[in-house]
Structure formats: structure tokens, C-alpha cells
Subunit: 327 residues, 2 copies
């Protein structure tokens, strides 16, 4: 059922399916952010999206394309938490049973929320087990359809609606983006957004932003092939810990992305504090990398820059620690 | 220079002055909030406004109406913090010198931000001194124009633009509000918003929401005269500690408000946690009272309800304590 490729038309179709389902998140401006960065900045806060991240978009689009038979048999997804919540929320809305395979060390908030959406959570061990193996075996046993977190064209098309909205909202305010900064894990959001922006705003540079030690897109864009992250690497950005660029996403991203930037955990924490104190937004670590890249880089001074804040699902204890720390 | 009364026309004029200056804050929907309250809810997040609260609106409108001579002599305001930041930010933008009289126990964040906007902060003791006496003496000595926090028609007209936006944003989405819940201290936001709503959405019930022990509007609306709060009362809602309804604001509010509701500190904390975990918004205690009233009252079930979140200027340490606490 999944589309075999991704075009702007698929993103438009996804937008039609999501109408009245996903939240049309606003495009925010804050003069202080302009002053602090020397850029003209618009922020797309997907932390305000249903399920607390952009992942609802792709999940709902993919689930709404299932056959009646597939819906009856249920869906299965593996996810560190945001795709889990997106799939669980979309499945609940569509009356589909969802099984979610999550790492044992996933943030408690994400586990609780996933269950609150009515999904069954099955844990795996992040370093000792392969989540795809666990997930595939379970899906086969249950006859469930796997909703891959990024290597799925319907998922990518759904994520692309975020870019479609940014382009339309910017145009409605006579803003032409020089640059758009996108948080990047497996590359699904980047691929979808890039597909939309290529059509609607082809002059906009698209930069993926990754956590330090998970700079697989930066290295892959350079080498031209899908580079791996070193197993055992860690980052505060639990949402962005994919082992390598997705196969399908990278085929798109290698053509459409301008480049990739990397930010450290300390920079991510600073960006989260900035979002708390200046933007009044609750942003999770992985959701803050694009903002961190803007705040830490002087290369965007004088530019009109879009920043996607991709999610806000963060444990209260971690958030409390981060905002209490001195800068 | 200040207007001698308040009409919808004044609110419209204020909206014209604020165009491109204040942030057109979005009108947010979140299906989970509907589910959790049994109402159809729209949220106006003024925590996303410049200076972190709606106060920028009134301050900018009032300052922009000063004569050239008044501008040269500077302005003075007394405030627990949000009006301070609003006046300081507007003054900085207009090149006006600002002196702010603040209580010694004002949240550190509010003091720091006020200074960051270039204003001079002069402290007074909340219980031992009368802030108006301190402010008036200082203003006279400096020849500065006093920008009262709520008993000023230009300030009220500016705050009213928040209501004007709500009415227009709701109408653009075919939403008719049965109820609008407004955070209430001195009554300036209520008076301005009520003036706008009376014109644009006369069928909407307008409820002021106050902290426990600061229910002066509730009692005043009942008795028909301006009741005082007991000196020495305390509340977590530092932004809403006015001793009584304003004289000018109450003349409007007594006619236009449907009633007033009261929430406890514990209910405010719960609302702040809800905003953190579900809405992904940073809300200060005083900014959360209207949301608290919605979450705690069953009377709004089945209604279409607007909620103003009036500010997000909260010290990180306090916010951390509140979000870490169990519900």
C-alpha cells in the first residue's frame, strides 16, 4: 500500500488527509530571537502538535492509507518515543490496535503517553537487542502492519506537511526563507520537508541538524553513502539516535539537503533554556537541535531563517535540571 | 493625553498602533484539552507575546500616545513584574527612558528582564511601603509620566487588542465562543478584552479568574462596590496581587463581566503542570489561573471556551519545583 516514491503531490495528499486532524501549528516570530541571533527568524513549534511532536503527521497519514483488513489486524512500530506517541495517537483516533516496541530507557513521559493513547508497549534493550528484529518478529506473529519511523514514503509525506505549512505561512507573511534548519534523526522529517520546500520555496537552503556523535547525515552527505554512527555513542537527544540515515530518506536527502550541522549536548541544553526563558516553549532535547544550531552559529547572521522545533516530550525531572542550570 | 474613557474604537486604534510591534499570538487548539475538559477549547497564549505577557500591548499603546516632551522626560511604572517588562520593552523600542518601581520579592526573572530592556529598577517593600506613594514621589522628582498598570484607558485599550484578536481569530475559524476566561489582577486585561468582545462577540460570557485570597473582583461584582483584599494575604500568583479592582477598570468590568471565579494555589500548580506536559507552554502562576478554572470546573462542559494564558515569566527554580511535583 505504501507509495513507492515521494513527490510534492504525495505531501499535498497527506495535507488533505491531515486537515482537521493535525494541528496547524503557528509560525512564530519573537523580536528578541532576531536580536540575539542577528537573523530574521521564524519558528515552527511542532511541540504544539498533537502527541507533542511532528510524528503525528506521518503516523496519521500512513495509518489512514491502510486497507480495512490491515486496520483490523493492527499496527506495530518501534520508536524511542515520539513516533510511538504519534502512531498510538493516530491509531486510537482511527480505532486501530497499536503495539509499540520501545527501548527500556525511553523517557518515562513518552512511555506513559504512549500507553495513555491506548497502545501496548513492548520493551527491548537498546544495546543488546536489535529493535527491528524484535519488532518484525512480533509483527509477523500478530499479523500487524509495521509503520517504520522514517523509511516509509507515507510517513515522509506526512512529515512533509510541516514543510508545506512553513512555506505557505511564510508566503502569507511575505517572508522568503534563505535557510530552513531541520532536526534530523533518521531523516524522515528532513526528506518530507525538503520535498515540500523544493516545490514551494526552491531557493531556501535546507540544513539538517544532528547531535554530536550522531552526525551520520553530515558524514553521509560528504561521502555520498550512508555512514553509520559508532555503537555505544550517547546523546541527550533521545529522539535522534538513529544508527544511520534511512535508506529511502537518504536517497531524497542526499539530493535536496544543502548540508548538515552538529550541536553538542551543552548547546542543546542552552537552547532548551533559551526556549524556556525567551520563547516560553517546552522543547525536548532532540527538538532543540535546530534552535541550538541557530543560536550557536554566526553563519546565519543577516539571513531569514526558519527553525523547526520538532518536539516537546521531555521528562519533568530532566527539564527541571536543565532549566535550573546556569548558562 | 490619556483618553477619558474606553470604547471599541480605542481598542481598534490601539490595534493599529501595535501592528508589527506586538506579536499576533496564535489561537491554539489541542484535542487532548477538549477531551480532558469536555469542552471545545481555544487557548490564547500571551506567554508568547513580547516581554512574555500581554502587558506589552497596553504599555506600548500608552507610550506611543505620549507627546515628544513627555517622551524626553521618560516614564515610570510600578509593577510586580509583567507591566514592568512590558513598559521597559516598549520604552526601549521607542527610545524612552523608563524607571520601574518593583517589590523586593519580585521574581528574579522579572527583575533581570526589566533591566535587560534597559530600564532602571527601584525596589520597594511590598508590605511596609505603598508602591504608588513611592512611584509618585519618584515620578514627580524626575518629571516622568506615570504609566499605571491598569487604571489607564490607553493601557486598557492596548490590553483589549488581545480580545480583538481572539474574536477575529475565532470568527476566521467559524468558532463562536460561549465563554471566555480571563486572568484578573487589577482588571485591565478584563476591561479591555470585555470592551472588544462586547462589540465583536456580545453573546460570549466573560469570566474573570482570580487567585484564592485575592478574590476582590468576585466580591466586588457581588456587592457592586470595590472590595479590598486583606493585607498580608499571599498567593503563588505574583502577577495578580492587586489590593482591589481598579477604579476605572471596575467601572467597565462591573458592567461587562458575567462573573468571577477563584482558584487555589494547588489548582494553579496543576494547571502549570498541565500546560507543561500537554500544551508544551511555559506558563507563570498568574498566567495559569484561567486554565486552572477550566480544568477544575465542570460548569463549562459542552461549551466552547476561550482561555487566555496571560504570561510566562516564571523563575526557573519555581517552575522546576512545580513540574517535578506529583499531581
Amino acid at each position: 500500500m505504501a507509495s513507492g516514491h515521494l513527490t510534492f503531490h504525495h505531501v499535498q495528499q497527506a495535507a488533505g488527509r491531515l486537515l482537521g486532524r493535525s494541528i496547524l501549528t503557528p509560525l512564530l516570530r519573537q523580536p528578541e530571537l532576531d536580536r540575539d541571533t542577528g537573523a530574521r527568524v521564524v519558528v515552527k513549534p511542532e511541540c504544539l502538535q498533537r502527541s507533542g511532536s511532528f510524528k503525528y503527521r506521518g503516523a496519521f497519514n500512513a495509518l489512514s492509507r491502510l486497507t480495512a483488513e490491515q486496520r483490523r489486524a493492527g499496527v506495530l512500530a518501534w520508536s524511542s518515543g515520539n513516533h510511538a506517541q504519534g502512531v498510538a495517537a493516530a491509531a486510537q483516533e482511527l480505532g486501530i490496535t497499536a503495539t509499540i516496541v520501545m527501548p527500556q530507557d525511553a523517557p518515562r513521559t513518552k512511555v506513559d503517553n504512549t500507553r495513555a493513547y491506548g497502545a501496548e508497549v513492548v520493551f527491548y534493550h537498546r544495546t543488546r537487542e536489535n529493535r527491528e528484529d524484535v519488532g518484525r518478529a512480533l509483527a509477523e506473529a500478530r499479523g500487524a502492519t509495521i509503520i517504520a519511523p522514517y523509511d516509509n514514503y507515507d510517513v515522509m509525506a506526512g512529515q512533509g506537511t510541516c514543510g508545506l505549512e512553513i512555506a505557505e505561512q511564510a508566503r502569507a507573511r511575505d517572508i522568503t526563507l534563505d535557510v530552513l534548519l531541520v532536526c534530523c534523526g533518521g531523516g524522515g522529517l528532513s526528506a518530507g520537508v525538503a520535498t515540500a520546500m523544493q516545490h514551494l520555496s526552491p531557493g531556501t537552503e535546507l540544513w539538517a541538524v544532528e547531535p554530536e556523535h550522531f552526525d551520520d547525515h553530515a558524514r553521509s552527505l560528504h561521502s555520498g553513502r550512508r555512514e553509520q554512527n559508532k555503537p555505544g555513542n550517547t546523546s541527550i537527544c533521545d529522539a535522534l539516535l538513529a544508527p544511520s540515515p534511512g535508506e529511502l530518506t537518504f536517497e531524497i536527502n542526499r539530493q535536496l539537503l544543502t548540508g548538515a550541522l552538529t550541536v553538542s549536548d551543552a548547546q542543546v541544553r542552552r537552547a532548551m533554556r533559551y526556549a524556556f526563558s525567551r520563547l516560553k516553549l517546552v522543547v525536548e532535547p532532540g527538538g532543540a537541535v535546530a534552535l541550538a544550531a541557530l543560536l550557536e552559529n554566526s553563519r546565519f547572521q543577516g539571513c531569514t531563517v526558519g527553525v523547526i522545533i520538532s518536539g516537546g516530550n521531555v521528562d519533568p525531572a530532566l527539564f527541571a535540571d536543565i532549566i535550573r542550570a546556569p548558562d
